[in-house]
């Protein structure tokens, strides 16, 4: 088979897959996880049921694939933010700010919102892909902090691993915040912790 032909097939498969994931996310958001059927998904994605089953065996597998795509997109977004800033200190701020806004977006507008079934279902899987993504995220933040410690932008009296753990937990507070301005204030406070080696008396 000529290469172009293979690429066309690949691109077509990706498009179908994306349409299936988008349709499923919309259906779950509308009617909850438990009542969504493979037939509804096939209809919404504009393909036959038989074709859908060539891609995915059941609704749960599609939801996990959707979740994995979300996480991958978030990590790619953070990597793009990181690569867009030269200064080590500014880079830390930019990535942490982006991460805080993602955290708030998931809590506010994500399909998990008002969807306890879905939250419980994704929670059960947390030892799989989410743990891997979390490790990748921690690693990314740790490396940024180590770089910024080397340039004097971040305290170097505490290991970058521990500082990354602090940052990710502190910024998860963004989920409960009412406004983007409050998220920026949270990022400021979190960054202040990274800089000073003082703290309260």
């Amino acid at each position: 088979m000529p290469k172009l032909w293979t690429e066309t097939i690949e691109a077509h498969r990706r498009e179908v897959r994306d349409a299936v994931l988008d349709t499923t996310a919309a259906l779950v958001a509308e009617q909850g996880l438990l009542s969504v059927t493979m037939s509804q998904i096939a209809e919404g994605a504009g393909i036959g049921r038989a074709t859908l089953y060539k891609y995915f065996p059941d609704v749960e597998t599609i939801v996990l694939a959707w979740h994995e795509r979300q996480i991958t997109n978030h990590l790619e977004h953070l990597a793009a933010v990181r690569d867009g800033v030269n200064d080590a200190g500014q880079r830390v701020r930019a990535v942490l700010e982006a991460y805080a806004h993602i955290s708030r977006g998931i809590a506010e507008h994500g399909i998990r919102h008002h969807n306890p079934e879905l939250a419980a279902f994704l929670h059960r899987d947390e030892h799989g892909q989410v743990t891997g993504a979390r490790r990748e995220l921690s690693g990314m933040i740790r490396d940024l902090l180590a770089e910024a410690a080397a340039t004097g932008d971040v305290r170097d009296d505490i290991g970058a691993d521990e500082l990354a753990n602090y940052c990710l937990h502190a910024l998860s507070a963004a989920g409960a915040l009412p406004s983007a301005a409050a998220v920026s204030r949270l990022v400021d406070v979190t960054l202040a912790g990274l800089r000073s080696s003082g703290g309260l008396r």
Copy 2:
């Protein structure tokens, strides 16, 4: 009935109740939530099954009562720490340090550890008593921070509510830490965020 007699009965009931909760926690830690029976609990607490049923209708109710007692104990401990320190700034440090150690203790030695059934069961209840306790805890931290802001020990450019939200999330990072020394470093970093109004450039 004379008052002393009523008090004696009350004290006896509290003792039985505490023995039931302690026994249940030990049994759940040993053999997991699902296999614990009312007979085992009665035997362990040194009372008859009929007596046990006068106190609690089932194992789930006992586990929730145990959990509520744990939370109450933690809140009382934090209030005692708070009331033992005069200086507003020192008080914030002492209470946050105590809270971080509690968070780590729950993750490390708590009966939730290696007990996913129990964690899932308690999680399901989180809209009840835990939410109330969390609100009480947030209120306590918020009041401490507001006092410390008034004395200049904590930044006053951001509301005490938002700072309390930041603190509780940041300190929940203690759950993953390997040592008490690492917990103290986390408290230092978190407190540094409360003081400076700078942050990274």
